[in-house]
């Protein structure tokens, strides 16, 4: 373990040493950034974007995150069942797990851009691209939830003569529903952040795009502040809800 830590520290030292700052005067830049923070967080303003419009953009972002989560959740449910060692033949599970690992390894921005070739930059590509990554994540999570089930229950229903579908619906899903729900909600939080990111990076509709416009096009710190507050507030709200949901699910 200490070898790992030492290696990481060495790489870090090397990385920091060779870091290219592109000729920026670092103390000046830090000072400027701190001043920017002050404007952003202490003087949020709405000039081009009214608070109402920002709220609508936020809703748009959330709606896309919901679409992604539901779509990828549905696909992952199927793939997760076929990818779980205790529910499907071994070659199939291995194939699914390998494909899913690759899907997950491709950064979501690359997925979105790949889809953008077919669909053009924008929400369609963002939803599809982020869904891919979300599928990669949820399939793994679901399959592992299924695998952690008490196999005896599955065996008991096999012994009764139940077929695969019946076992899935009467034993597997009821026993793992809480795990599935909390993984899905966690992923929803991540999808929300990702949609914001794709708004800034790949022109997906929603608050991320406004973030990009405010900072890169208008250099409007006040508006950047307003948008940041909106996103932050919603993210924290989600986190609180997630904690509640987890507590409720644990009880059941």
């Amino acid at each position: 373990m200490w070898a790992t830590v030492a290696a990481l520290a060495a790489i870090t030292a090397y990385g920091l040493f060779t870091l290219d700052s592109n000729g920026v005067n670092i103390p000046d830049a830090i000072g400027e950034t701190l001043r920017n923070f002050r404007t952003i967080f202490l003087h949020p303003e709405s000039r081009r974007l009214s608070a109402g419009a920002a709220a609508w953009e936020l809703l748009l972002t959330v709606a896309q995150a919901i679409l992604i989560t539901l779509f990828s959740g549905l696909v992952s449910l199927g793939l997760g069942l076929l990818g779980a060692r205790n529910l499907a033949p071994k070659p199939l599970t291995q194939a699914i797990k390998a494909v899913i690992a690759v899907v997950r390894a491709i950064p979501s921005i690359l997925w979105v851009l790949i889809f953008a070739v077919a669909a053009g930059l924008g929400s369609t590509a963002a939803v599809l691209g982020l869904s891919m990554h979300s599928i990669g994540y949820l399939t793994k999570a679901y399959a592992e939830s299924f695998e952690s089930l008490d196999y005896g229950v599955v065996e008991a229903l096999q012994a009764v003569g139940a077929n695969w579908w019946q076992i899935v619906f009467q034993a597997v899903l009821p026993s793992s529903s809480t795990y599935l729900l909390s993984w899905t909600f966690l992923r929803f939080e991540m999808n929300f952040t990702n949609v914001v990111a794709m708004g800034a990076a790949a022109g997906a509709a929603g608050i991320g795009f406004d973030l990009f416009m405010a900072s890169s096009l208008y250099f409007d710190l006040g508006e950047l502040g307003l948008i940041t507050y909106f996103v932050l507030a919603f993210a924290i709200l989600l986190e609180i809800v997630a904690i509640r949901v987890k507590a409720v699910l644990k009880e059941r």
Binding site: D150, G152, V153, E155, A156, L157, Q158, A159, V160, G161, A162, N163, W165, Q166, I167, V168, F169, Q170, A171, P174, S175, S177, R252
Partner: protein, 263 residues
Amino acid sequence: MAVLEIHNLTKYYKAHLALDDVSLKLRSGEIVAVIGRSGAGKTTLLRCVNRMIEPSSGRIEFEGVDIRRLGRSALREYRTHIGMIFQHFNLVPRQTVMENVLNGRLGHKSTLAGIAGIYSADEHSMARSVLEQLDLADQAEKRCDQLSGGQKQRVGIARALVQEPRLILCDEPIASLDPRSAKAIMDYLFRISRKMDISILINLHQVDVAIKYADRIVGIREGCVVFDGDPKNLKKRKVAEIYGCDVDDIHFEDSTGGDAMFN
């Protein structure tokens, strides 16, 4: 009439021989207890009967049908006639008692009805009468993770009974229970077998329990049947041979008595 006939059953796990040329007969309504030390092959034998484990060679006949030949769907149909009861109950913890019992009917249903959990009125009343027999009627709506071990095992039995089985396989059904619940479970199984004419093949660790309840005892040692006969004929020496220990270490009285709880 023999319900189950096992001829020359052999099972290899890779190179390891777990069952060695086992032959065995079970008549209708008969209770046969299988005893043997840990690793002797009791579980393997039991699970070969409903092909939860695939035998390596030999014949297994259930009511005259060679079950090793059955295809996938025929195997499922065959399993509906055989109940199975587990040491750790294997109930769906988040379902209610009633739902778990009805799970026993799944093999009789269409895929779709099974997925949706739609059961006929007959099936409901059957489940209820079985629960009544097992004194669980008042627990029907409870979730199974809220039951005691003894209650859980009774739900397991109820699940097997709604299958309307002709044979029940029990793998150490009382090993995780306290003596009182264990006795109750054995009494239920005994009564069911007698009343409904259901054969029972049961793996047990307690020799005295086997002697008390079984019509016949089969002793297995290292995958071989070393005793098959009336409990009355099971002598201390034989038990010592089955378990591979000294006669002096056997703490029960041949055919006369045993643990007070079970008398």
